[in-house]
Symmetry: C2
Amino acid sequence: MTEPSPGSRPTLEAVAEHAGVSRATASRVVNGGDGVRAHLVDRVRTAIRELGYVPNHAARTLVTRRTGAVAVIIAEPEIRIFSDPFFSRQVRGIAKELTAHDTQLVLLLVEDRGDYDRIERYLAGGHVDGALAFSLHTDDPLPAITRRIGMPTVFGGRPGWTTGTGEGEGVAYVDADNRGGAREAVRYLLAQGRRRIAHIAGPLDQTSAADRLSGYRDALAAAGPELFAEGDFTPAGGARAMAELLDRDAGIDAVFAGNDLMATGALRVLRESGRTVPGDVALVGFDDAEPVAESADPPLTTVRQDIEGMGRLMARLLMGRLNGGPDGAPHGRTTPDPVITATALVRRASA
Amino acid sequence: MTEPSPGSRPTLEAVAEHAGVSRATASRVVNGGDGVRAHLVDRVRTAIRELGYVPNHAARTLVTRRTGAVAVIIAEPEIRIFSDPFFSRQVRGIAKELTAHDTQLVLLLVEDRGDYDRIERYLAGGHVDGALAFSLHTDDPLPAITRRIGMPTVFGGRPGWTTGTGEGEGVAYVDADNRGGAREAVRYLLAQGRRRIAHIAGPLDQTSAADRLSGYRDALAAAGPELFAEGDFTPAGGARAMAELLDRDAGIDAVFAGNDLMATGALRVLRESGRTVPGDVALVGFDDAEPVAESADPPLTTVRQDIEGMGRLMARLLMGRLNGGPDGAPHGRTTPDPVITATALVRRASA
DNA sequence: TTGTAGGCGTTATCAT
DNA sequence: ATGATAACGCCTACAA
């Protein structure tokens, strides 16, 4: 049980000495061993094993200027992170892809506005090579920050700047086809013969919510007047919005909810009001959230988006910028490349 | 819009020159400014601001041997991380506490057995000052790893070693009073006059599941023969276990489920079998999981544990070892301090 | 193919 | 109170 003398781990110097070579040769072996005679490679490898050598990260970063780590920034002060599977799914996708690239994930949670200072310092401090951020709200300061300090960043979801300012230059992001998916959902309801279709929107300061509302409007344009209430992506918010809508028009025969969580809230209110689903009112959600949609009663017809896939894509895009990238330009000053992923309507029992 | 020359950020050297002082003085100011004349402090501060200086993390770590970061290791290969709010809650608690200590959180997800190598390298590479790990299974290699490389670590949930080996020396962990909570739940059911009480256990290779089973047995000891089936902490697993139990004994009049998610699965099966809850069968869960327990139909009576609080506690314990700790002993070779947090029965409608 | 030596940006020790 | 200067552990020209 030879514990490596606690506190001070062996250095490359020690390995070199142990193997009877120079630091340079030892270093070469550690980094792949190209151009070193097999003979010596073996000796060094053995030394590494015997000493339990592990390269010191800080020292390596100091000279290579690469940390091998990426920040994942979740800008969601609300309780949503707990209850909405969306986040864990996306993080999971990101984690998988990063691991495949031997890159570490540093999680940065934004609680309140003041945290942005801390985050800017962190990002600028060279802790990470790049950043991944999602769940941004309108006028979120993050895009400006990453741009100012020249940190390669990929956003999850279309960032929502106040339109007009030319800020959106060359911003990379991955988003689902929120508008198209919403359109499909509403068209489906229309095709079923529904005529009084209401929409429960998410918080409209998030582009995903705004885009789904746009899709709803697209599809409804010809077919009738719009009718929607704003929720907050939670079941409780969905319930509130549903009650409000029923209040405004008792003749609603279909509802398109901005996400599955709000749909479950709507479901409860609908049932409590004595209406059947989908008999009296058809209901379509959005997300195809993991246990939620399938285990709802009745199971939700919903617009599926491949959340984990989006996470993976975000990571892949970022890795591309960091490594191969068109050039090593620190700004990632390359062509803007939003990537929009397809959605698909999943038919279950609620519509 | 003077972008700081992209790629190369200003160094302490630049700040010193700009302020007309030495690097040493500049450094002192950066680190609080004790023992530097106010006069110079100002000059340096101004230089820092004007240049947009941010200390280089790698360089600092190299000399201080402190990273200001902590690893959070989630050893859960299954899909659970998605659907079980448990994880996000605990991470949230941890994140809050770490932020308060100006410490970063590095998330390490364990997907399969092979990942442990990667994690050991990461931990040994000096990326982090300490580690937080939870959701360990029996014979998880993690405790051995962190001990071997001398990494201060706090576990979430009692680590489950094969009993007998003297491994559990001085291990710090935070856990809910699983056994006591389970005991209370079952006693409550007995007090309600229930006589045929079944238990749906979690995966018994996790100590939380095993401890809850023990609590069930404690309470039941005198009152009747035990009857339990093993689930997997998911709704589907709960449903399967419930069906199996009903199959074995149709006269069950109460069920204590190892967590709320399994309770919802049991609820479905119970309803499908024509039984009412709590009329025919009383049901108690565990966790008081955020939307799950309250929004179940009927809302679940359950054993509450303060998950976020446990997360905060874990982080606080670790910070204690890293900073003030009895001494700076790299091993944290101090008294073992498991901390067991209380649980509380929350009465709702299901029992 | 291998070794020598310089430097990455900080902190910390020692004079001054 | 301030300023040289030596580490910290590693990579990488460059020289041999």
